[in-house]
């Protein structure tokens, strides 16, 4: 390549890079979280460290839910195993040997973040949690979630388990594309019943579902290592905003601000 051509190529690269710099999302909420990302119709609007690998806490359940939905298990009956019954953290209190519809377990996992429901689905669908986690990682790779590695089905802290705001935003988009999951994520509460007749009333862990216009979900998370986490999704007048917070300082206050700024961002865009 001649010297002139080399310089021209360099100038063109500079030109392209300049646009890339200008199009990059801004950090409008410094220090709000260890990482966050706000996308408006899939376009990053605000972000800080969106590719930073961090523990996802219960946001990992989004992948579990996706795999269950994609398996189209319908009203299949799941028998609770000892592993699920022994789950810790947020749980329904399911007992080993109880039989529950898969759709009810899915609801309990998404609406109330129940770890026993989550583990029961994982064990049942893949035969073991270990096998299920392998499926989760394979699906993550297939979706191009390069910052994501799962070590368990439900988001417990574990060495090497991480995801990023960018990956979780993309995963949220996939989850919302599943009508069953989108419907569950928008529920404020649900009553479910084991085949043995025990009933559970689960309430959403999302402080904004049913309370802020347009909010459609999606998942909360907390562990000691991850801190408070959230994937918040909302749609107003055809505009979709997805907020992902990992290790948030004041999760709900910042999520609310990010959501509103996201819609303001959409309104400020030139018409397409």
């Amino acid at each position: 390549m001649s010297d002139r051509a080399t310089r021209a190529a360099f100038a063109f690269a500079l030109f392209v890079a300049a646009f890339a710099v200008r199009a990059a999302p801004t950090d409008s909420f410094p220090g709000a979280a260890a990482a966050y990302l706000v996308t408006v119709d899939g376009v990053p609007a605000f972000a800080a460290h969106p590719e930073r690998p961090l523990p996802p806490a219960s946001l990992a359940k989004l992948m579990t839910a996706l795999l269950v939905a994609e398996a189209a298990v319908g009203d299949a009956i799941v028998t609770i195993g000892p592993g699920a019954a022994a789950e810790t953290g947020t749980r329904l209190g399911l007992r080993a040997g109880e039989r529950v519809r898969a759709s009810d377990l899915l609801a309990a996992m998404l609406v109330a973040s129940a770890n026993d429901a989550c583990r029961a689905l994982a064990d049942w669908l893949a035969g073991s949690e270990r096998e299920f986690v392998a499926r989760m990682n394979a699906r993550a790779a297939a979706l191009g979630l390069a910052d994501t590695v799962f070590r368990n089905a439900c988001g417990h802290d574990a060495p090497g388990m991480h995801s990023s705001a960018r990956d979780l935003s993309a995963l949220a988009d996939r989850v919302l594309a599943q009508p069953q999951l989108a419907g569950l994520a928008a529920l404020e509460q649900r009553t479910l019943r084991t085949l043995g007749g025990r009933t559970f009333r689960v309430r959403t862990t999302n402080a904004f579902v049913g309370r802020i216009p347009g909010v459609t979900g999606l998942k909360t998370g907390y562990t000691a290592r991850a801190g408070t986490c959230l994937v918040l999704t909302a749609e107003r007048e055809g505009v979709r905003v997805i907020v992902v917070l990992l290790g948030a300082r004041e999760r709900w206050w910042d999520a609310a601000a990010m959501l509103e700024h996201g819609f303001d961002f959409a309104n400020a865009r030139p018409p397409r």
């Binding site: 300049a18 409008s28 216009p213 709900w252 910042d254 700024h261 400020a268």
Partner: protein, 326 residues
């Protein structure tokens, strides 16, 4: 009934127009049928022109008995008079008024299978006199089915349908307050007088939250009020005040009442937890959060640049301009 002709701007244009007429006639359908199929040859000679235009023949389908269809026609400002048919002759006079007046006469002689015609026109075009002779020879070559009547009927139906659609569009635009349709050059310009009263009517309902929300969703109220010289800000202020008065926090927090959100948010949201607050106040506090946290979208997308800071895009453009031959 007088025929209307269009006067030529220049003699040469007249020649072109005559041929254009013949060309348009040739487009008539020629399937076998009850009408007459003609080969029409036209020739134009004009005094002062160095060479005559070559004759041109077109095949024309004419409704039976419609002799005038075989006469070359122009449009606008020209009138045929004294048209009469005597035996096998059809004669007429032509007079054109306007910027380039001219007049003349024509005579067509019919035989059993054709006709010969000539038309002499004299006049001035752009101050220059001209004398033109147009000869037309027609030969009946068969039968055809003219679609003129059907075409006219179809065109009229389309025009009527188009008028109906415009009327419906204007009606809808009046409901949605689409001011662009009522601009002086817009399709509803003849109904402009209806527009601002319709805007005032919607504006009156928009002074309370439900009406305001509906108007923002379904109409272009803000722009329309501006076009009519009305104060949309006053309508917004009235609706927001009503929202605060009735504690309609979903409305107050919807993005149109940020001044009220600041005040009401201080009292109802500041220092409180979202998980513990009354659900009705959450939309207010969500909006309040956006006013006290983060930079607004406009600032974020167009962050102020230090005066002397280089513009990376412009730098790239400049670098390309220096290096590339375009």
């Amino acid at each position: 009934m007088p025929q209307v002709f269009k006067p030529p701007v220049r003699p040469v244009a007249l020649v072109a127009a005559a041929f254009a007429v013949a060309t348009s006639l040739a487009a008539i359908a020629q399937a076998p049928g009850k009408d007459e199929l003609w080969d029409v040859t036209m020739k134009m000679e004009m005094a002062g022109m160095p060479m005559a235009m070559p004759p041109r023949t077109n095949r024309v389908c004419v409704e039976k008995g419609n002799d005038e269809a075989l006469v070359p026609k122009g449009r606008d400002n020209c009138v045929i008079s004294n048209a009469k048919r005597t035996g096998n002759k059809y004669t007429f006079n032509v007079a054109c008024t306007g910027k380039d007046p001219m007049s003349g006469s024509g005579e067509f002689t019919y035989s059993s299978d054709g006709y010969d015609g000539k038309m002499q026109m004299k006049g001035t075009a752009e101050g220059q006199p001209f004398d033109m002779m147009q000869t037309v020879t027609g030969k009946r070559v068969g039968t055809c089915t003219s679609t003129v009547k059907a075409d006219v009927a179809r065109a009229n139906a389309q025009i009527a349908q188009g008028n109906q659609q415009v009327a419906e569009m204007c009606r809808q635009s009046l409901v949605s307050l689409n001011w662009q349709m009522y601009e002086p050059t817009g399709p509803c310009a003849d109904k402009r007088a209806d527009f601002c009263p319709a805007v005032s009517k919607v504006a009156a309902t928009a002074r309370e939250p439900a009406g305001y929300t509906a108007a923002r969703k379904d109409t272009m109220l803000a722009d329309a009020m501006g076009k009519c010289g009305q104060d949309f800000g006053a309508v917004t202020a009235a609706a927001c005040a009503k929202g605060v008065e009735t504690r309609d926090w979903a409305f107050v927090g919807s993005g149109s009442c940020d001044a009220e959100v600041r005040t009401a948010g201080e009292a109802n949201c500041k220092g409180r937890s979202f998980t513990g607050m009354d659900r009705g106040v959450v939309p207010l506090c969500s909006r309040y959060a956006s006013l006290v946290r983060g930079q607004p979208a406009a600032t974020a997308t167009a962050a102020p640049t230090p005066a002397k800071a280089p513009d990376p895009v412009q730098e790239g453009v400049n670098a390309l301009k220096k290096l590339l031959p375009f």
